[in-house]
């Protein structure tokens, strides 16, 4: 008769426990998944901002304002030309589009997809350049006037300053896993590069 009083888990109890655990765990997993997802997005955004800043710094470090041959003829912005302020431009190709170069004359930081991917994310970096000029009359410059874009004719050898907009886009890792093709993330960093001749920065130290 003792068997009647022996304890044990009733089927009902186990079933209720299983249901509660299942619901709770699924909710938790989903919550954690969301948190991890947004955490990875923040990291990706930080990487993208760094990549944009990197290109801005690259474009800002030019060797000369303009390059000419010994006769004073301006050298075209091609692959073998020195890194010049004049040639900072929106890259139609990566040849002579601005920025510092490797020994084989290709850009260190070319436009397009960044290879290799950073933490399994492929970032795409491009930049656009807008020229600004201060107004000028035939007899000289007009002081205390704001710069305008595009530069009025006659076109100067190079604009007074250039506005560079670097755009980095990437496909978010989590959303890419889910196959959401349109989930493209974008950050934009914009700055200005002035025609400040490195030649004279060296001169004032003499």
């Amino acid at each position: 008769m003792k068997n009647v009083h022996e304890g044990g888990f009733s089927l009902i109890e186990v079933l209720i426990t299983l249901v509660v655990l299942a619901v709770g765990l699924v909710a938790l997993a989903k919550f954690q998944g969301t948190a991890i997802e947004s955490g990875s997005l923040a990291k990706e955004r930080a990487v993208a901002a760094h990549l944009a800043q990197q290109k801005l710094d690259d474009l800002r470090n030019y060797e000369v304002l303009i390059e000419t041959d010994a006769l004073g003829v301006v050298i075209a912005c091609n692959a073998t030309a020195r890194v010049s302020y004049r040639c900072i431009a929106t890259p139609a190709t990566n040849v002579g589009g601005g920025g510092n170069k490797k020994a084989d004359f290709t850009l260190i930081l070319p436009s397009g997809n960044i290879d290799p991917p950073v933490s399994n994310v492929t970032y795409n970096r491009t930049w656009a350049v807008t020229d600004f000029c201060f107004p000028q009359t035939a007899a000289g410059k007009t002081p205390n006037e704001p710069a305008v874009t595009p530069c009025p004719a006659p076109a100067p050898a190079f604009p007074d300053f250039k506005r560079v907009t670097v755009t980095v886009t990437w496909m978010d890792l989590e959303q890419r896993k889910k196959g959401q093709a349109d989930a493209v993330q974008t950050i934009v960093l914009r700055s200005i590069i002035s025609a400040s001749d490195p030649f004279y920065s060296g001169r004032i130290l003499e």
Partner: protein
Amino acid sequence: MYTTFHTMTRQRGAATLVVAIILLLAMTMMTFFGVRVGVTEQRIAANDMRAKQALAVAEALVENGIAYLDHNKAVISKPFTGTAPDNDPHSWLNGRWQSCASTAVPCGYGTTNHGYVCTGLISAPPCGNGTTNIYDKPWLFYMPPAGQIAPVSDNIIYTAAYTESVSFVTPNKPNKGTAAVPPVDPFPEIHIIANVTPGADPLAGSAVIRQIVQDFSLLNNVPRVPIASGGVIELKGGTSVYGDPNPDRLFYTSLGSGMPLSLWSGSGVTITSAAAATCQPAAPNCTGTNKLSSRLSSADPKKPDGLDNVGDIVANDGKFPLDLFEHIFGVRDTDAVRIIKTRSTVLTNCDDLTSDSSGLFWITGSCSIGSIGSQKTPAILVVDGAEVSMVASGVFYGIIYFRNDGVAGGKVTLGGSAVLHGGLAAQFAPEYTMTGNPTFRYLDFSSQRPTRRNVFAKGFAKVPGGWLDQL
């Protein structure tokens, strides 16, 4: 035993369920904790991002400021008295420069006076050298009005608009003049201060950075002589050449001090007419003993050409610069177009230039001079065309470098009573045509007050190491 069984029987209940719920609660708490860490990380990343953007905006403002300064270099310290000829309303001395009177940005950092308000007996740098106050006046600042500096923060995704300002702060050194009496060598150093603060979005970042720029002269070494040429210099017609009236300096040809020079040539000098002469610099006219060249030629029979190296004419100077352009501008002639032409106002001829024209002009064609420059606002002309000429009543103040596109030849034509105040320099020998009584009169552009303070051939360059992410 019964007791035990009884207890067990009594304690039967939903133990599994209770334990499971406790476990679930613990896991939930752990998850919440994890998420909190994640959220903090996200906040850090977002703040970092905003700071990066604010810094990018501030950097852009500094670059914009440099361009603005360079564009306005001619009027930054242009003399301004309100009456002609010093009445250019564009001059920054016409009320644009303000005295630093408060500790607000850009003169101070909010409540802190970081030294730009150098009133009283502040002796700490930058007001003083540690023991005494070297600036007896507050520094000056100028904040361009809204719209002068193109905004950069617009259209940046993920940010609200920033409040942006860029201003220029400069030490106003003692005994260097006031707005009414401009200083001798004003504003050699200007601090560009970019201030970026949150606009509509209070969460936006803020950044303050400072870039120090210093002016430089495009002129490196101007010959202290009215005519300098690597080729033969010819004086014709009734031409008079007056040398430096204050030759109390050692001339770099090491030919001794105290000697005024009229002509300096790496080749020969020929004076083809009796009326043409070099003259006593201080003399009002060029007659009699004031004619230095004729006196020298008759005085020293040992010199077959009548010229020597101890008078006011230096001919066949073996030390004449092989690259006169480099001597004057500090830039090799092969880089002339690249560095100097691009900093010049490029014109096809000199027709648009007037007595108000001041600065560096690069003339791609021939240049006919009517009246260009003044003693206060001289002009520097680099003429790449084939001819420099002065009309009969022409007046010129400044320096003409006759480059002729870097090749030999070209023409220099003067007539009537044209007066060239300053200097003419040419690497090669042009063909000189001189009729009437033109005059070359040396004018010192390197030390005279009215010309030195005129920013006629100046630029601003970043001081290496002059970047600070603070005020």
